[in-house]
């Protein structure tokens, strides 16, 4: 009992530490990759290859003056950055980042909480992310923020449907709501990425919309809305929104990897005859690498595609991805009935 508790605490600390570091370095990766795509150099002055840049950014954010405009609705204004940040963090609790780790004679499952409604837990929390944006938009009492918040709420409701329906296909095939089961069902080459390419594409589009990333970053759309919902925020509060964006991206990548890219599975690695400890660590490494590839994809898309117009966004969501997601459910049902999986 005590050791179980201890193991859980250690797992939480390790995951949280790695997660926060990745979030911090994601900002650097984004700037370096964008520089690479645009044939610039990017931040390379602080430390070797600019590796200490996130630290410098953090310090700068902390020392900036914390302005709270007098026209804001204070309690909500202060609450909004936290509401934006927390759901992305706690979603990680149900994502399996490896199989079991054989250590000290016991098999430690590499997931913080194996909840039997893990999948619904993720969706419930993802749908909470919108509150940070909407509350920030409303409480700032500024037209740019308000329009940002309005766009965020409409966008997120629209794309959550496609997100959920696309993922139903995965659930039908896996026959479980537990994330570890869903990953285990994708052993060998049976990644859902291959089995359900349509569902994967729809899910990916919806994920981009849910994380407010380009080409769907209309809630912040800097050319038209200054900064969108976070226009009136400064210092650490702005930094929290900034972190929330990257944290959401990281969580979303982990979810995509778990649902479609086989999670920690590496095809046929089990048959290579590695010692169990090494095998387990290799699988964790594979998971991290896959997440890294997804993150690179996020950044790549951002610096390649232009922003959608609002009506185009709505049309894409309701008239194209939603019907296709429903079609994908029929296809998944067919997969199961025809015993292809």
């Amino acid at each position: 009992m005590m050791t179980d508790l201890l193991i859980t605490i250690v797992k939480i600390l390790v995951v949280f530490g790695v997660y926060l570091t990745m979030v911090a370095y994601l900002s650097l990766v984004e700037r370096r990759v964008s520089a690479f795509i645009q044939d610039r150099r990017g931040p390379n002055r602080v430390g070797p290859f600019g590796l200490l840049q996130p630290l410098a950014d953090g310090l700068k954010f902390m020392f900036k003056e914390d302005l709270i405009p007098h026209y804001v609705n204070r309690p909500v204004y202060l609450l909004a950055p936290l509401v934006a940040l927390v759901p992305a963090f706690i979603t990680m609790a149900v994502i399996p980042f490896g199989n079991t780790l054989p250590l000290f004679g016991r098999d430690i499952p590499l997931v913080i909480a194996n909840v039997n409604i893990g999948f619904l837990y993720i969706f419930a929390l993802t749908s909470m992310g919108v509150y940070g944006v909407v509350l920030a938009g409303w409480s700032s009492n500024s037209k740019y923020s308000l329009i940002g918040g309005l766009r965020a709420s409409a966008q997120m409701i629209s794309y959550e449907l496609s997100l959920g329906l696309a993922a139903v296909g995965v659930l039908i095939v896996a026959g479980s709501l537990r994330l570890p089961d869903i990953v285990a069902a994708q052993s060998g080459l049976r990644w859902n990425f291959w089995m359900q390419p349509l569902g994967f594409i729809i899910f990916l589009i919806a994920v981009f919309a849910e994380t407010n990333r380009l080409p769907f970053d209309l809630p912040e759309a800097e050319p038209e809305l200054v900064g969108g919902y976070h226009t009136e925020y400064s210092s650490m509060k702005f930094a929290m929104f900034f972190m929330a964006e990257y944290a959401n991206m990281l969580t979303a990548s982990a979810v995509v990897v778990s649902l479609y890219l086989g999670g920690w599975q590496v095809p046929y690695l089990e048959q290579a005859g590695l010692p169990p400890l090494l095998l387990s660590l290799a699988q964790v490494l594979a998971f991290v690498l896959k997440v890294g590839v997804m993150l690179f994809f996020f950044v790549w898309v951002r610096w390649t595609l232009p922003r959608f117009r609002y009506d185009q966004l709505m049309r894409l969501g309701w008239k194209i991805t939603l019907p296709l997601a429903i079609l994908n459910i029929f296809y998944s049902g067919y997969l199961v009935v025809a015993k292809w999986v």
Binding site: N73, Y121, A124, S127, M128, V134, W138, L150, S153
Partner: protein
């Protein structure tokens, strides 16, 4: 044992407090946030009652979809323009009396009344929990309650069409002609 009492009273207090805020606060957005908090407290109580699936659906649908819709409308019609409506009402003293009477009656029934439902064996609940009550829930929903389930989908379709029709701007209305002939 004691811990579950603690949690029950904690979540119940949060739910009731938030509900009071919804009914009494004058700022509509604060009301909406209090309602979200209440949904969470109730979802926690559902978890305590062993209804994980319903708890997740509660958060997903109520807090994640319905309240976002409310917020969207609140932002859309810019409620500041619509004056924060006062609580007092000519009929409110009467309402409070009725509500208190209703509550007293309900509580009397709950405490004194006899339940028509026999407590099911703990084994049934335990069996449900062991097999993952979500699975048992799904099996029940798609067999015994299949017809109501299908009807619910028709209801949702009707609601969707109705909402679109009601909220749609007519072509001539955009021109600003029919404003006055509605009032």
């Amino acid at each position: 044992m004691d811990l579950s009492f603690l949690f029950f009273y904690l979540f119940a207090a949060v739910a009731v407090g938030a509900a009071l805020v919804v009914v009494l606060n004058r700022n509509i957005l604060h009301c909406a946030m209090a309602l979200v908090l209440m949904f969470f407290a109730i979802a926690a109580l559902f978890l305590m009652l062993g209804a994980e699936f319903i708890a997740a659906v509660q958060v997903l649908v109520y807090a994640g979809a319905i309240m976002v819709l409310f917020l969207f409308v609140i932002l859309l019609i810019q409620i500041d323009r619509v004056q924060m409506l006062r609580f007092a009402h000519r009929q409110s003293p009467l309402v409070v009396i009725i509500a208190v009477l209703l509550l007293a009656e309900l509580l009397y029934m709950i405490i004194r009344g006899t339940l028509g439902i026999a407590p099911g064996g703990a084994d049934a609940a335990a069996a449900g929990a062991a097999s993952g009550s979500t699975e048992a829930f799904g099996a029940l929903l798609y067999t015994t309650y299949l017809f109501p389930f299908e009807v619910a989908s028709v209801l949702l379709l009707a609601a969707m069409i109705g909402a679109i029709l009601l909220a749609r701007l007519d072509k001539e209305e955009v021109g600003g002609v029919s404003r006055q002939d509605m009032s």
